[in-house]
């Protein structure tokens, strides 16, 4: 796959990184949602959320300072997943 070296994945679909990885979402115990593969990520207006890596972690505790991504804050607040 080719892309400008520093270009984030502009359409939010993870195409640049998707490769042969089948789409999956892993709910980490008391932690984030790990998203792999070509899963479209969009905001509430439908606009793509640019992603910069093949596997991303979505905040599940609500405390992240970089939402929608996880920043590890679930550990600091003692988040327990339902």
């Amino acid at each position: 796959m080719s892309a400008a070296p520093d270009a984030p994945d502009g359409d939010g679909r993870g195409r640049r990184f998707a490769g042969a990885v089948p789409p999956s979402i892993v709910a980490c115990p008391d932690g984030p949602l790990l998203v792999r593969g070509a899963v479209p990520l969009v905001d509430d207006q439908g606009a793509p959320v640019a992603r910069r890596r093949a596997t991303v972690a979505l905040c599940r505790c609500g405390a992240s300072t970089i939402k929608p991504w996880c920043d590890g804050s679930h550990k600091a607040i003692g988040f327990e997943a339902p």
């Binding site: 984030p32 093949a54 972690a57 991504w69 590890g72």
Partner: protein
């Protein structure tokens, strides 16, 4: 990297040998290296803080990475150098094993191993290097921080990559997933080592690897030497995996603080990008490292669980020792470096 000035008798003996080519070196002189290493180890009161031993070991390890300027590449696999290195490595591993506390009776399954690693690395509310940097450090101090970090971060990820051919299945795939991201997903200017180089440049520092080796104390070198020790020995693959897991698990939150500190001091977004990238990336990596990598390896090779936890504990010990060194110096109003950078 230029060959740094030796800090004691073993480093001097090593420098003399490295000044020659492997094919021309005096057999007696090179054979005497292991004995010089043994004497230095016996004379040492604290291997983790021993300037002579840690710098010499750092130089010996660099032969396996990008090499040392002017040093014959054939030295990398020279039996006499390896014998001398083994003496220092044994002392380092022994010092680490004696100083760390490793949880026992952890079941060799994903959940137990990951939970144990997350418990070992749980954020503590007390004073820390990263909080000091966020709130109080001045420009000289954050530059010192970068100088310390540069002996690892300019080759970030490389020591753990040694473990790749020693793993299989789920654990190998997990390590590839993490390391690929460390190396920028294949984009040269997204490599974490390159982001760190830009941070150094933004702070007015030289980003050539090894440029500041002369300035950093033994304990900083012990941190990176431990990664090389674990990474270069197949026997210690469990410890490498545990080390990486602990490293990733103690990264996101501190890097947010480091970024905040640099922003408070007026550094631009290019300079803080390294820290911001790690807040996001390592929140991903810690999950993969704890569950798929360490947990996966524990299920494949249950006998490695104690080593996985040892590697994690060694990472935490050295992170603590280095952090304490910097904070102690700064609280005294002193530099944490050997020579002002």
């Amino acid at each position: 990297m230029k060959l740094p000035l030796p800090r004691g008798p073993f480093g001097s003996a090593l420098a003399d040998v490295l000044a020659t080519t492997a094919s021309d070196a005096d057999p007696a002189e090179r054979a005497a290296l292991a004995a010089a290493a043994s004497r230095a180890v016996e004379a040492s009161t604290d291997v983790l803080h021993d300037e002579d031993l840690q710098l010499a070991l750092f130089v010996l390890y660099e032969l396996h990475y990008r090499g040392v300027e002017g040093v014959d590449e054939d030295w990398e696999w020279d039996p006499d150098l390896l014998r001398a290195r083994a003496v220092v490595e044994a002392a380092l591993e022994d010092a680490l094993r004696r100083r760390v506390e490793v949880p026992t009776d952890v079941a060799p399954d994903r959940r137990s191993v990951a939970d144990t690693l997350f418990a070992m690395t749980a954020p503590s509310p007390g004073p820390s290097l990263s909080r000091f940097v966020a709130r109080r450090a001045d420009r000289d101090q954050v530059r010192e921080l970068l100088v310390h970090r540069s002996v690892y971060q300019l080759k970030e990820a490389d020591p753990h990559t040694w473990a790749l051919p020693r793993l299989g299945g789920v654990a190998k795939a997990a390590l590839v997933e993490i390391q690929a991201d460390e190396y920028g997903g294949g984009a040269p200017d997204r490599m974490h080592s390159v982001l760190f180089a830009r941070t150094m440049t933004g702070a007015g520092l030289d980003s050539d690897f090894g440029r500041y080796v002369e300035e950093v104390p033994a304990v900083t070198l012990a941190h990176v030497n431990t990664m090389s020790l674990l990474g270069l020995h197949r026997r210690l693959r469990g410890a490498t995996v545990g080390h990486l897991a602990a490293f990733e698990m103690t990264s996101s939150l501190p890097n947010r603080f480091y970024g905040d500190g640099f922003r408070r001091l007026g550094y631009d977004a290019t300079t803080t990008e390294y820290f911001d990238e790690h807040v996001e990336a390592d929140a991903v990596h810690e999950q993969i490292a704890g569950r798929d990598l360490a947990g996966g390896l524990a299920e494949q090779e249950p006998e490695l669980v104690p080593d996985i936890l040892f590697g994690a504990a060694a990472c935490l010990l050295l992170d603590d020792l280095v952090g304490r060194h910097l904070l102690d110096a700064w609280e005294r109003g002193a530099s944490s470096l050997r020579v002002a950078a």
